[in-house]
């Protein structure tokens, strides 16, 4: 292309190892030679270095250092404690009711948000997987929740699920559920608060996951459907017997993604609480998630060592759950006979 033309004239002389010394200026050739060798040998490392440096300093190191901190007494309000704490933070964790409560909440909200999220995404994806007019606009429209800041949408849903004059209660009232005299208090107990928070998560991620599924659906070879037509598989059967197994890798991928994201849920439960800064997730921790508890322990109670131990515990939990979910999904979506 024109780019090669743009190369300076003397460089056409081929800076390659050729040491024929044909040029009038031997020294310059030598210099070019060295430059060439440097360029070939070390330039690739220079090009990947910024990524690795930055990633190691601000990504990997904190993760490892977190392990060190979790074995220390690291209280911002009391620097006099002995340096090492041994496994004290972890033993304390095992008996910490707040932690188990938060773990319970996290799993509850996770189930209520991930299962409907992925199933509905599958439905939306198969709706989109047709020859549509204004195809791009449907796909873009479905991403509205994805680009909306979670902070903003959580505030909208907070109002939506308010006890007095909340739209959720009003709509449910239309269907004969609840009444203006005794409105549902969405922040009073676990089932209601979990549902409200799960609604936010579902709203945010259904469209995104639908696009992931759609991409996979469109790469299914077309002749598979011909075969299905001959076998006379109905639409529902076709979805579960053909489409789902064919896009299984992507389904597993979304399950892992939503496990990692769902178990670290932070913004939605934080802002669902009118008293967000306390990070207690309701007056009695009705919907306090682990990520929220870590925030509270670390930056409200100023006990960074303990918060680090919790982060490690959460890390392990995520690993285990993601593994189990991968196996489960593999069984459910592919192994079906």
């Amino acid at each position: 292309m024109s780019t090669t033309r743009a190369a300076p004239a003397q460089s056409r002389r081929r800076a390659a190892p050729g040491r024929g010394g044909s040029g009038p200026d031997e020294r310059r050739l030598n210099w070019r030679n060295r430059l060439y060798r440097f360029d070939m040998r070390y330039m690739p490392y220079l090009m990947i270095a910024p990524f690795f440096l930055l990633f190691i300093v601000f990504g990997l190191f904190p993760l490892v250092f977190n392990g060190v901190v979790s074995l220390r007494n690291y209280r911002l309000d009391d620097p006099t404690l002995p340096y090492w704490a041994g496994f004290e933070n972890f033993t304390r964790l095992a008996g910490d009711e707040d932690f188990w409560n938060a773990l319970y909440n996290t799993f509850g909200i996770f189930l209520l948000s991930s299962v409907p999220q992925l199933l509905l995404a599958l439905v939306v994806a198969s709706l989109l997987n047709r020859k549509l007019r204004a195809q791009t606009w449907w796909r873009v429209g479905i991403l509205l929740p994805y680009v909306t800041p979670i902070v903003a949408s959580s505030m909208v849903f907070s109002v939506f699920f308010s006890r007095d004059f909340g739209m959720a209660n009003w709509v449910l009232g239309l269907f004969g559920y609840g009444s203006p005299e005794a409105p549902i208090d969405w922040r009073a107990d676990k089932p209601h608060s979990w549902t409200a928070i799960a609604t936010m998560v579902n709203w945010k991620w259904i469209g995104y996951n639908a696009l992931l599924y759609l991409a996979a659906m469109q790469s299914i070879p077309r002749d598979v459907y011909e075969a299905a037509a001959i076998d006379g598989a109905g639409p529902w059967k076709q979805l579960w017997k053909i489409t789902v197994p064919m896009i299984q890798p992507v389904i597993v991928f979304t399950v892992v993604l939503s496990t990692i994201g769902g178990l670290q849920l932070f913004t939605e439960p934080m802002l669902f609480d009118p008293n967000a800064q306390a990070a207690t997730g309701g007056p009695n921790g009705e919907w306090q998630t682990i990520a929220q508890l870590i925030y509270k322990v670390g930056w409200k109670d100023l006990n960074l060592g303990y918060a680090a131990a919790m982060s490690w515990a959460l890390f392990l939990i995520i690993l285990v759950v993601a593994g189990v979910n991968t196996l489960l999904t593999n069984r459910l979506s592919g192994g079906r006979k």
């Binding site: 292309m1 002389r13 090009m47 977190n66 680009v147 490690w312």
Partner: protein
């Protein structure tokens, strides 16, 4: 029973002879599909619309049943209130968010395309092992290192400054991975080779051949990075809350804390901070869709 097995347009279980063995994406959508999609759109858009309704209402409109569903006329009043609150720094927060998101996006694009190019087209010892490392780190949730990150930033003296928010975002493993894939598929080896033969240095190849060829991928990665950075909340909250330099997300959460939260204000602020992203979706929606869908097929 075996009439024309239609496609699993889940929900629309209608037997459509037209489908007969055709792949779903070749089959024109029926009315039912359009209706269900329209309902989906309604659900997707309603919270955004309602955010605007609340942002334009007065207090009375928010305290009645049935709730208001048409915008009021108080938008400018509410916006003025948000901007004039002394300890929220809302105007500054928008600038901060813009700075953080722009710097992070520019940096991700540059460093990730550079590394992606090296992994895609250059030969060097340890290339495969290092790429494997990048792929493995794709799934590591860095959020779990925030306690230590806070301590690191404390040592550097960056906590409470925009640097603390910018630095961890400067590169992403996803960016490198995405760029590498794109370059492998779109930049022919011969082009790189012939440029080399003509004496072009590696950086020259990057600037003159790779960059022009990967413009679409840069747009995709740039949009995704900008949106994610603008919306980031947990880490900015930890390091910036209580300072005079919040990002807009932190400022909104400040608006929403206190004994008596005035929601029309909060949502006026939230709406303003959402508009830039809606504009980006409107302009670059095609690219964002493409980025997400391409990412899916590759992973």
């Amino acid at each position: 029973m075996t009439v024309a097995p239609p496609r699993p347009t889940a929900g629309v279980r209608r037997n459509r002879p037209a489908l007969m063995g055709r792949a779903p994406q070749d089959t024109p959508a029926g009315l039912g599909t359009y209706l269900l999609l329209a309902v989906t759109m309604l659900f997707a858009a309603f919270p955004l619309y309602w955010m605007f309704v609340i942002a334009t209402s007065n207090d009375e409109a928010l305290a009645k049943l049935p709730p208001a569903v048409v915008p009021g006329d108080r938008f400018m009043t509410n916006v003025d209130e948000v901007f004039s609150l002394q300890d929220v720094y809302f105007a500054a927060s928008l600038v901060n968010s813009l700075i953080v998101s722009s710097v992070v996006t520019a940096s991700v694009l540059f460093f990730c395309s550079l590394a992606g190019f090296a992994f895609a087209k250059l030969r060097f010892a340890g290339r495969n092992a290092l790429m494997l490392f990048v792929i493995l780190t794709l799934t590591v949730p860095n959020q779990l290192g925030i306690v230590a990150l806070y301590i690191v930033m404390g040592r550097l003296g960056w906590n409470g400054t925009l640097l603390a928010v910018i630095a961890p975002g400067l590169v992403t493993a996803f960016g490198v991975f995405y760029m590498r894939q794109f370059i492998v598929n779109t930049v022919p080896d011969e082009l790189v080779e012939s440029a080399r033969v003509d004496g072009a240095t590696t950086m020259r190849v990057y600037g003159n051949i790779v960059l022009p060829a990967i413009r679409p991928a840069l747009a995709v990665l740039g949009l995704l990075t900008f949106v994610a950075t603008w919306n980031d909340f947990q880490w900015p909250l930890i390091t910036l809350s209580g300072t005079d330099y919040p990002t807009s997300m932190v400022a909104i959460s400040d608006l929403a804390s206190g004994n008596y939260v005035i929601y029309r204000r909060v949502l006026a602020g939230a709406f303003i901070a959402t508009v830039p992203l809606l504009v980006m979706l409107f302009i670059g929606g095609r690219q964002i869709v493409r980025g997400i869908m391409e990412g899916a097929v590759k992973s």
